[in-house]
Symmetry: C2
Subunit: 293 residues, 2 copies
DNA sequence: GTTATGATTATTATCGTTAAAAGACAGTCG
DNA sequence: CGACTGTCTTTTAACGATAATAATCATAAC
């Protein structure tokens, strides 16, 4: 049966929002801020009243006491079956329990993760869009990606898309919101470079934000969505290949800064040059950590 | 419950293969040729024996009589629930019952098509990879594609990919198998042009084969897979927009021939020119039939 | 008269179950 | 001895059922 994880998660977030105010807002307002339906909001309010946190009578929702740690639901109970499957699957990919050409067994995964087979199946169908796993009719799934060929093909498309996006970015009117975001990212890069010895592990997150920002200039859903594939592959790649990480990331931050400067100058030639240079090292890093075919 | 559609379909195909020979091959051989497991082959043989078609005793499978129409299972019973859903959904998109920003109701679709909700759900998850429908959390799906913006974004990526593939094609060594396939397609184009008045409806199929051939030169799974999206959109577009079809297709065949000639000449400049010209008209046709935003 | 509430209805997320189909294994036939 | 068969085990495909959640609608409060 479906677990009320959404309710529990919303309840926890609602507790976080118990601020200075001694009255809670209306149901529709709460629904809006918690991003859930009114039905769930009402369930949350009922529980708060039961727990003696508020005195709830129609429109009046008076705060009786502030929440303490014991009022929160354990975080584990706030994860839907679908999330459990995703985490469980990814963990298995990362630690190698699911490796290249491993067969993937729906029932076994479901049992281990503790969810129904349907949920696992739906996750795999969805995940197959990234091209890393494939299905054989009336038989199981196999991991096919993470080969060198896969990485090369991914890198090729990435370069095509990013170059186009970067040139579109350079052409943006100076009034665009994206320039402000770029400036903010530039500042973050500089801060990171100053403390690179301690900060270099945060690079992969910064990298994703910069590339997504640039891709957003293309205003093309196919390009934007393709970045999901890249992000996933790089995310897992970064988890694997820790060798030389600090040096690689330092170089990458510098490449980013040159790239950002070229964009800000609106110089297409320099943009193309710095973009290519950065993507070339990203490609090399990725390729180096894939098994040879 | 799962229906034995695979068995029925394999049985029908096995009947088709009842040739001159009076003995059927071994189980593993049958399994190989029918592309099913031995389990299914044995079910087929059991049924054939019951129907008096063969005398089956261990390795001996003697043909007693040739199959007649009544021996076949009705075609409707050979379609899996998943296929039913796909056809049912597509039919609804084409005849407009599911239109732009229509909400899509899993339970309702399932009831109408006569399958379980899970099957519909899995189809929708899979189909969502084409970017035409989107899901809202804990709520239904909506049709979002087939807008002008979607068409423009699709056309942009298509041009990027096809240009790259075409240039790769032009660079292929003359020994490549792909040149033979291209020559065969060229001949088909010429034949079609001669009888364009009667043949023009077959163009869309020819178009897909040519473009898939060209894309295959890129040897990139992301490019190849992207053509699935294009093919689907064009397929449905061709179903809708019958206006002016003969004239459009005549022009397109001529553009194809020029494009093919440029490829065969191995001339990159001319390839790019003819490729762009053809894609420009394809884009115009597509855009013209999408609703303005 | 607008916005909020309470009650009701519709729809999704997820599970457990079962027939179909695939796969494994030991024994048998040529 | 190697391929084939019969039997048994494992796994997928698909269904129906139910709690959670969203959506709707009439009424009440401001």
């Amino acid at each position: 049966m479906k677990q009320n994880t959404l309710f529990k998660e919303a309840y926890n977030r609602a507790l976080d929002a118990f601020g200075a105010t001694d009255r809670l807002p209306s149901e529709p307002e709460l629904a809006e801020s918690l991003k859930v339906s009114r039905t769930t909001v009402r369930a949350v309010l009922h529980r708060m009243a039961e727990a003696g946190l508020i005195d709830w009578n129609q429109r009046s929702k008076r705060v009786l006491r502030l929440p303490v740690a014991a009022d929160y639901f354990p975080e584990a109970e706030t994860r839907s079956a679908a999330e459990l499957v995703e985490r469980g699957f990814m963990a298995r990919v990362m630690d190698g329990r699911i490796g290249l050409s491993s067969p993937i067994n729906e029932a076994e995964l479901a049992r281990e993760i503790g969810v129904g087979t349907t949920t696992v199946r739906e996750f795999l169908i969805h995940f197959s869009r990234y091209g890393l796993i494939e299905k054989r009719r009336n038989s199981g799934w196999v991991m096919v990606g993470f080969t060198r060929a896969f990485a090369l093909e991914l890198a090729d498309v990435r370069e095509m898309f990013e170059l186009r996006s970067a040139l579109a970015f350079a052409r943006l009117p100076k009034s665009s919101e994206l320039w402000k975001k770029l400036a903010a990212l530039e500042a973050e890069h500089r801060r990171m470079l100053e403390n690179i010895d301690t900060e270099y592990r945060r690079f992969s997150e910064l990298d994703e934000r910069l590339h997504r920002l640039i891709h957003s200039a293309a205003e093309n859903r196919f390009i934007t969505e393709f970045y999901d594939v890249i992000a996933m592959v790089f995310h897992y790649h970064f988890q694997w290949n820790k060798k030389d990480e600090q040096r690689r990331n330092t170089v990458a931050v510098q490449e980013h800064l040159a790239y950002i400067a070229a964009l800000q100058a609106g110089d297409p030639i320099e943009t193309e040059l710095t973009c290519r240079r950065h993507l070339r090292s990203a490609r090399a890093t990725l390729i180096a950590s894939t098994p040879a075919d």
